[in-house]
């Protein structure tokens, strides 16, 4: 069973009279439970591909299927709900809401799809990610590594089928980067699918497959 399938995926950004082709007809298949690393030089379209896989951007052309669901056949509301139910995101700059505590930031994932409060899952996650002592702290009081673990906890709370991680270790020192990669690896070993954009050496070691991108195309 394929977790992700894309066909002719193209994204062109228009800025006034100029247009930039970030992705040019990408075809891709990723199986369930795979850990896939996407690499490539800056501007090669890695993040754009990840955002398209998560339905955060609309493609100029092409299709994306997640678990057999055509992501862009859905309307915006359906896609939001699908994203909330099945896809977890981890971003390089964490994207935590600064006014919510660690606990509230993590539970926000459940509020989006009006699920039950998830306090039990939260307790397990906090323990697993070593954040029990930090649950009432605001993000501003956390270290970079802790912030990224909170972001990861938020992504994991709903037990999504897929985690899309955009350079999650980009702002972390090697020790903290290792922790995050290990956590993602554990998630994958428990049956989840991970697609990660990263230049991190730790990621190379756990990834089952590496996709190389250049100028909006997959070259390897």
């Amino acid at each position: 069973m394929k977790m992700i399938r894309t066909e002719g995926l193209t994204k062109v950004f228009r800025r006034g009279k100029h247009s930039v082709t970030a992705l040019a007809g990408v075809g891709l298949e990723i199986g369930e439970g795979e850990f896939v690393l996407i690499k490539g030089p800056s501007g090669s379209g890695k993040s754009t591909l990840l955002f398209l896989l998560g339905g955060l951007l609309l493609p100029t052309a092409g299709k994306v299927w997640i678990s057999g669901h055509d992501l862009f056949q859905m309307n915006d509301r359906e896609r939001s709900r699908f994203r909330g139910e099945h896809i977890g995101f981890v971003f390089q700059s964490y994207h935590l809401l600064p006014y919510l505590s660690v606990k509230e930031n993590i539970l926000l994932a459940n509020k989006a799809v009006a699920r039950k409060d998830g306090r039990e899952e939260l307790r397990i996650l906090l323990q697993r990610l070593g954040l029990e002592e930090r649950e009432d702290h605001l993000p501003g009081a956390l270290s970079a590594g802790e912030k990224q673990r909170v972001a990861l906890a938020r992504a994991l709370l709903r037990h999504p089928k897929l985690i899309l991680a955009d350079e999650p270790t980009g702002n972390l020192d090697p020790a903290h980067a290792g922790v995050v990669i290990r956590l993602l690896h554990t998630y994958q070993q428990e049956g989840g699918t991970v697609v990660m954009v990263s230049h991190d050496d730790h990621a190379d070691r756990v990834a089952e497959r590496t996709i190389l991108m250049e100028k909006g195309r997959i070259v390897q």
């Binding site: 993040s47 955002f51 509301r77 995101f89």
Partner: protein, 378 residues
């Protein structure tokens, strides 16, 4: 929860935002209260110029009237009641008077009787335009008091009857300085003119409410009811008064919308800046699966709270400023300057409305933007 947490976390930002709105509301509230005070002040100051309508017996020799300053003819006192009962005639105050010029202690003196009751339109209580003189007493004009060495409490004999001087009046620089004022009934008895008057003085608003010829309108209305009366209007005073009032009304009509527009733009800009600064948050919420309508609701609720806080603060600040400085500017109506509570209701409705309308554009644009674009915009 998100809304209140965010407000508390950025409480200074929220406070400054609502303070910005409060500045706009303060301006409007202060302006409206001061303008209302200014209009009242103008009305009272112009009213104090004197009566603008004189109703005299139709048989009056006008040449004699203008030369002597009063009509030597009389008409029935009951004419006043006819005017009161006539609903089609609009007026602010009516006072019946009787005049007679005599020689007294070697001086030309004008005896003036004033009706004890100043008649106002039914259901309307208005401040006294002129004084009421107690029976058996007189008020003595400045020039007569000075020339005859008359003081309060003295007893004067006039045409064989004795009257106590209740008060000597301050100098007015007008013919009033050579008057002795009586209660109307006292003077009617003294002159053997019971039930008769020389004139009805009226402050009338017809000149603003009627067409181009208010005097003609009033004359036509009075023709049937007061067949023996003639109406004279002091056009100079009436026109000056009307111009002053219109000037104030125009000032208010032009400035208020301008001020409201500035306040609306100001509140709107603040609300818009807040939303634009938070577009990344919208992206995060969208990435997590929040529906656009829910995010819009969160931002609109914040705009409403910001507007309400600004409106409340602005109302009380504007009212306080007006109450503090208004009496120094408008001394005549100082005591009549008071808070306008209806402005609080208006402010509580309009400030949140402007805030929501102004937020709507950036919120809707952000919510319906692709979340990936918002997250990349940081």
């Amino acid at each position: 929860m998100i809304l209140l947490k965010e407000i508390w976390y950025r409480r200074w930002n929220f406070f400054l935002g609502s303070l910005g709105m409060a500045v706009a509301v303060t301006g409007v509230v202060f302006f409206v209260i001061m303008t209302r005070a200014s209009q009242n002040e103008t009305r009272i100051l112009t009213r104090n110029m004197g009566f603008n309508l004189r109703i005299i017996p139709d048989s009056t020799n006008m040449n004699e009237f203008w030369t002597r300053g009063y009509s030597s003819r009389t008409m029935p006192e009951k004419y006043v009641q006819v005017l009161v009962d006539k609903k089609a005639i609009y007026y602010a105050h009516l006072t019946a008077t009787l005049h007679q010029r005599i020689r007294w202690r070697g001086m030309d003196v004008m005896l003036t009787g004033i009706s004890p009751d100043e008649l106002n339109p039914k259901g309307k209580k208005r401040s006294k335009m002129i004084f009421a003189i107690p029976r058996g007493k007189v008020y003595v004009g400045y020039e007569i008091a000075r020339a005859a060495n008359v003081h309060s409490g003295d007893t004067l004999t006039i045409l064989g009857k004795r009257y106590v001087v209740e008060r000597t009046l301050a100098e007015t620089g007008s013919e009033d300085d050579v008057r002795i004022y009586f209660d109307l009934n006292d003077l009617q008895n003294l002159l053997h003119k019971e039930g008769l008057i020389s004139e009805i003085m009226a402050l009338n608003c017809m000149c603003s409410a009627q067409g181009d010829d208010p005097l003609g309108d009033l004359r036509r209305q009075l023709e049937t009811d007061l067949p023996d009366a003639r109406v004279i209007m002091n056009r100079t005073i009436a026109v000056a008064r009307e111009k002053q009032r219109k000037m104030m009304d125009n000032y208010f009509a032009v400035l208020l919308p301008v001020l409201l527009l500035i306040a609306a733009i100001w509140t709107g800009a603040l609300a818009m800046i807040n939303v634009m600064q938070r577009s990344r948050e919208i992206g995060i919420l969208r990435a997590l699966g929040f529906r656009g309508s829910r995010i819009t609701g969160i931002f609109f609720a914040r705009a409403v709270l910001l507007g309400l806080a600004g409106a409340g603060m602005g109302y009380f600040l504007g009212t306080w400023l007006a109450m503090k400085h208004g009496p120094q500017v408008f001394r005549v109506t100082a005591k009549a300057i008071h808070p306008l509570h209806e402005l609080l209701i208006w402010a509580m409705c309009l400030a949140p409305f402007f805030a929501v309308v102004a937020s709507a554009i950036p919120v809707v644009l952000a919510v319906y933007k692709q979340p990936g674009e918002l997250l990349k915009e940081e």
